[in-house]
């Protein structure tokens, strides 16, 4: 479903992705973790073309990125992206946030889109917030709307970039619950997160990055119980210490 082969990326002189080779199968859930600045966000942003790569191949849903024959706008409709800072449209209600792209990009008739939108909002537990504006919602609620917004496009893949790290502690679980539900329905997911409980529960694989490279990769059990490298051990000890 997603296949990196020898991907490199530079920001100026900085080699932020080094020789990434990684493949994600359909219905697989992959958690990406690693220290700040290690390139996690960059990695998943490449997948839907928010960043462009310099060399190597990146094939998503059978289409090669950077290939002139690939219609990026089309491809993006197949990929949902959930941001750390939600990025809801502040001038639109929750429902409008969910229906905007289906109506304008997928060209679904408005009433159908709204019907579907209401169902999605109900699914993420926000049936009563349909007409609320983002500023009237708590962080956890906003992030759940953002997830519903992605689901509204019926994507084949969903990418999450630290979806809970901007949230108050008591709101984290409500978002993770929704993500677990999505994963259990069989969505292909790549999730940048430090929520190790989530990784344990639903991930088939944990990928540990450092300084732009994938340093380690394995099942959650392997990774948490027997980290193979010093760097992953140091990292785990830090985030699990207090």
């Amino acid at each position: 479903m997603i296949e990196f082969r020898g991907v490199n990326k530079w920001f100026g002189a900085l080699n932020v992705l080094r020789d990434i080779t990684l493949s994600v199968e359909p219905r697989e859930v992959v958690v990406v973790c690693g220290p700040s600045g290690s390139g996690k966000s960059t990695l998943i942003r490449c997948i839907n073309g928010l960043e462009t790569i310099r060399d190597g191949d990146l094939v998503v849903d059978g289409q090669r990125l950077g290939d002139p024959a690939t219609n990026m706008t089309r491809l993006r409709t197949e990929i949902g992206f959930v941001f750390q800072s939600f990025n809801l449209y502040p001038h639109r209600t929750a429902l409008e946030n969910v229906t905007l792209a289906p109506i304008h990009v997928r060209k679904i008739p408005r009433n159908e889109a709204e019907q579907a939108g209401r169902e999605l909002l109900a699914k993420v537990g926000l049936a009563d917030k349909v007409h609320a504006y983002p500023a009237q919602l708590s962080g956890g609620q906003q992030q759940r709307v953002a997830i519903a917004r992605c689901l509204g496009m019926r994507p084949k893949i969903m990418l999450f970039d630290e979806p809970t790290s901007a949230l108050d502690p008591e709101m984290i679980s409500e978002v993770l619950d929704v993500m677990v539900a999505v994963a259990e329905e069989g969505m292909t997911m790549m999730v940048v997160t430090h929520e190790m409980g989530f990784a344990r529960k639903v991930a088939q694989r944990v990928v540990f990055m450092d300084a732009g490279a994938i340093v380690e990769s394995g099942t959650p059990e392997e990774f948490f119980s027997q980290p193979k490298t010093d760097r992953s051990r140091a990292f785990l000890s830090k985030i699990l210490r207090h």
Partner: protein, 225 residues
């Protein structure tokens, strides 16, 4: 000049001031509409990555900002006939005001668009919207709110600038004051009256700005944690 200040004469000239006020209002309104049109086009041009549109737009904006409206007005007024366009004063005046204010409006709109957080653009990109869809559905509606107060500020400037059109024989508000000054030799009466009227327009526009701010404020502006 003040001890003989004649309110009676002002009242006598009030119809003239009234006409001037009306002219100033509609001609400013028209010019501002023109300025918005010019400004949107220029802002769009100056936000392009390629130099082909960006450089001419910036050059135009800088040239307008660096020279006085008076020079621009005469440039059009005396220059257009050389190119074979003899246009009525009012048209030249409105054109000059639109082209002048348009440059400032362009800067305001550009700043408004750039003030939209990058995440908003990315959210649009990620859900497969085209450039035009992103602009129309995501960026412009948000930029609109940010730009309303400075745009009204520019409208205030434009209203006062329109006084310059009296130079090319448009009878607007300032002209009425000048008439009172030259027919009756009552400059204090003339000028203080027009100042009062301009102040009225200023507070009108300011009220509008506050109102629109409150109206826009009803829809929460920021999505925050």
């Amino acid at each position: 000049m003040l001890e003989n200040f004649s309110f009676r004469t002002i009242v006598e000239y009030l119809p003239l001031f009234g006409q001037g006020l009306v002219t100033t209002v509609w001609l400013s309104a028209l010019s501002f509409a023109g300025a918005l049109a010019v400004g949107i086009v220029l802002a769009a041009m100056s936000l392009q990555r390629g130099w082909l549109f960006r450089v001419p737009a910036k050059a135009y904006i800088d040239a307008v900002r660096a020279t006085p409206l008076l020079a621009q007005l005469y440039f059009l007024y005396f220059g257009l006939p050389h190119l074979g366009f003899v246009l009525p004063e009012l048209v030249v005046g409105i054109l000059a005001l639109s082209l002048n204010s348009g440059a400032y409006v362009a800067e305001i709109i550009r700043a408004g668009i750039l003030s939209i957080p990058r995440g908003q653009v990315e959210a649009g990109v990620a859900s497969g919207m085209t450039y035009v869809q992103r602009m129309r559905l995501v960026i412009l509606p948000q930029a609109f709110k940010v730009t309303i107060p400075p745009l009204l500020g520019q409208a205030i400037v434009l209203v006062k600038d329109s006084a310059l059109l009296s130079l090319i024989s448009v009878s607007e508000l300032t002209r009425a004051g000048q008439l009172l000054a030259s027919d009756r030799f009552m400059p204090a009466e003339g000028f203080i009256t027009i100042a009062a009227f301009y102040l009225l327009l200023y507070y009108g526009l300011k009220g509008l700005a506050a109102l629109s701010g409150r109206w826009l404020g009803l829809q929460p502006a920021r999505s925050s944690t």
